[in-house]
């Protein structure tokens, strides 16, 4: 896959601030933003930064990674149910794999997601750690 700077730049609001949307019609909070409310189907473009707090819905420790994540193995990924409602897929950090459990309270932090070689772009974004 070709690594493109623009792909990552477009997502800066989501990667650094968990910027979602709120539906002006039904009040649903939406992440990732999609401009059409998945609840009521009406246009929803009002930005809303999320708190970054949530709890672990499920998790998995990865031993066989996709390209670009070899250096991090084993790492733990999770589905995090945010307190505003949406669910997000992210890595857990600052926690040992055997300490993670479903229902654990977590909060968003900004971390390095991946670097492509010595010369490649370094990608930053959200991960979640146990709530301090």
């Amino acid at each position: 896959m070709i690594e493109k700077v623009a792909d990552n730049w477009r997502l800066r609001g989501q990667r650094y601030r968990l910027e979602g949307e709120v539906c002006p019609h039904c009040g649903a909070v939406i992440f990732p933003p999609r401009d059409i409310c998945p609840e009521c189907g009406k246009p929803a473009k009002e930005p809303k930064p999320l708190s970054g707090r949530g709890e672990v819905y499920s998790f998995s420790t990865v031993y066989s990674p996709p390209e670009g994540f070899e250096a991090y193995v084993p790492y733990t990924v999770a589905l995090v149910k945010l307190e505003e409602g949406p669910m997000v897929t992210a890595q857990l950090t600052d926690v040992a794999p055997d300490e993670v459990e479903i229902g654990m309270k977590v909060e968003m932090v900004t971390r390095k997601l991946r670097a492509r070689g010595e010369e490649g772009t370094i990608i930053y974004g959200y991960k979640f750690r146990p709530m301090l």
Binding site: S58, S60, E67, Y75, V77, T89
Partner: protein, 385 residues
């Protein structure tokens, strides 16, 4: 709309084909299907494939395979819907014949996955998931299934070892399938000791990456009997979708697209799950078997695993699955898998499944899943003679 029948089937052995390229594999399966249908020409060709561009550097498979087959000038296209690409191609072929736009259609599913390293193939497979919001976080395709399996175990109280029979039964059934990738019995003990890929998914929960191709020839059912001694009727063909990302689904364990496509298929066929004699489901991972059985109405929510634990998925059980080895042991050449399911179902319905024959099989169902559950395609097939 016209009714559509399968009048020819063909497949290559599933496995590691060092000596065959993607064109060669598609050609072998296609020629076998044409020979079975006693035809040399068709009106259209649809090629199901997921990752030829990424893995082999070759796209444009429609024209490529048509040319290789000597089908000069014929309508031909590649159809892509991740791991459901094979069934998606069959769906398009079925629409072409049903609508009257074409009479004779060749559909071939093909995939080449073993010329590259495991890591490259893992990355190519991950393209079935949401690139911006899943894959960017380091989530492999296996990990997505692992997230579902962990939650399923948590909500319904199942243990890892309860899933073992899905793999054990698939490997047992593959013993009698000469085209299967594995001819290797496994035990629950072996399952329990398998190394972890992404917890709680171990090596024996997962289907293998494979090379392979499978094909069928379609014709209007009205004159299928004049073309083939043992045609198989496509009673229903249904596609449904759900969000690509697991986190965007309201109820990740519901496999909503499977429920919708199965319901549409049952309605079209005018039958329910109790009428189905065997079910070629998408056992890419043991958790997918459980969710697919539930969504298709063979088990209550959270009880899909019970069918494995109680032995109801064997060839003599209430709902036989993976009768020729399934994705787990026949192998999972992703874009070809849906076509293998259909070819194997046709073998059962023709009474040609050998030692694995389901006695008096009349109605068979196939369900092919793209991604972690975003595109799900169900076909119901019926014996015509």
């Amino acid at each position: 709309m016209r009714k559509v029948a399968i009048i020819g089937i063909g497949q290559t052995k599933v496995g590691e084909h060092w000596s065959l390229g993607i064109r060669d594999l598609a050609l072998q399966a296609s020629l076998a299907a044409l020979r079975d249908a006693n035809l040399e020409k068709v009106d259209a060709l649809y090629v199901g494939n997921m990752m030829s561009g990424e893995i082999t550097g070759q796209e444009h498979l429609g024209a490529l395979v048509a040319d290789a087959l000597g089908l000069r000038g014929v309508e031909a296209m590649k159809i892509e819907a991740a791991c459901a690409s094979g069934s998606a191609a069959l769906r398009v072929g079925t629409l072409a014949v049903a609508s009257g736009m074409a009479d004779l259609v060749l559909v071939v599913g093909v995939e080449k996955m073993l010329d590259t390293s495991g890591r490259e193939t893992t990355s190519a497979l991950a393209m079935a998931a949401d690139a911006e919001y899943e894959v960017s976080q380091g989530v492999s395709f296996v990990a997505l299934n692992a997230l579902l399996m962990r939650r399923y175990m948590h909500e319904y109280g199942w243990k890892r070892e309860d899933f073992a029979n899905f793999a054990v039964v698939a490997h047992e059934n593959a013993m009698n399938n000469p085209n299967a990738m594995f001819h290797l019995r496994i035990t629950p003990e072996k399952y329990a000791k398998a190394p972890m890929i992404a917890t709680p998914v171990g090596l024996l929960d997962a289907s293998p990456v494979s090379d392979g191709a499978a094909a069928v020839v379609l014709a209007p059912a009205d004159y299928a009997r004049t073309l083939s001694p043992a045609p198989v009727l496509i009673r229903a063909s249904a596609v449904a979708t759900a969000p690509v990302a697991v986190h965007d689904r309201k109820d990740p364990l519901a496999l909503e697209a499977a429920r919708l496509s199965a319901r549409k298929a049952y309605e079209a066929a005018g039958v329910g799950p109790e009428a189905i004699d065997f079910f070629e489901l998408h056992d890419a991972f043991t958790i997918m078997s459980a969710l697919s059985l539930e969504a298709a109405g063979f088990a209550e929510r959270g009880r899909g695993v019970a069918l494995a634990v109680e032995g109801e998925i064997t060839r003599t059980g209430r709902i036989p699955i993976a009768t020729m080895g399934g994705l787990k042991a026949r192998g999972h050449p992703v874009g070809a898998t849906g076509m293998y399911q259909v070819v194997e179902a046709a073998l059962q319905l023709r009474g040609l499944a050998g030692a694995n024959q389901i006695p008096n099989a009349r109605l068979g169902m196939t369900q092919n899943i793209g991604g972690s559950g975003a595109t799900i395609i169900t076909h119901i097939l019926e014996r015509m003679v």
